[in-house]
Amino acid sequence: MAFITATASIRGKTLTRNGTIQYQDASLVLPEFLLQAYAALKSDYPKFYKMDPLSKLGFLAAEVLLADRPLAAYPPEAVSLVLSNAHASLDTDTQYLAASRTVPSPALFVYTLPNIVAGELCIRHGLKGENAFFVTPAFDAAQVASYVDLVLAQPGAQGCVAGWVDVMGEHHDVFLYLAENSHRGLARAHTAEQLNTLYTGLWNN
């Protein structure tokens, strides 16, 4: 039996951890919000500035999700990453297409795949377990729960960062959670029902 031990979200230019606001400024456009949220977290990771909005969103959510270093005791190979979204990398693809009318930007090109955000998070947090990225029309709690359960059932598996990281222009919707085989933190049962409750609860706040 796996448990949801922590959550993080970014919606309506509000960054939360376990439902508690970490940073909020709805008056900013999304690119500026991302920079200000990064500054507020006082992370020291210059690569952040080079990331596309999708990776920046995933980075910020993962920073607060894993702020207490809950994975420190696990071997890197014991922690996996399972992400999903609706728009893949279309936000950056569009920017790259526009930039390509003059001289294509190599720095933009490297972000024209949705799973680049997974790579950024694996590098930042030293995750070396399985990673996967699914594109679905909407957050599919049943599919995510089922896949993460399979990952956590593998021999040696101990944790999995999972959830939804979506962006298209100003639209952004991020819901990450940490699933572990240990009963700690939020200690909610890792079920599709719980995930739906946590995810849809964000919309109601």
Partner: protein, 85 residues
Amino acid sequence: MEQLMADLKRQIIEALNLKHLTPAEIGDDQPLFGEGLGLDSIDALELIVLLQQQYKVKIDNPQDGPKIFRSVRTIAEFITAHKPA
């Protein structure tokens, strides 16, 4: 040369999204890769694009890249020597 190096520092910060740096924090002879500014291979490609767009200068021999991109000063020297009249 001094003005060119000052321009290059601003353009490098803009092109490579080095928003944590100011031009004053980049030394004229500071190594740009490795232990210096820590630029990577994608940054090198962006620098090539920058030279083409801003100065109409192309690097014909890729083997010369490490020498040309060693520092802001070496880039400025390359531009000065190869910029179209």
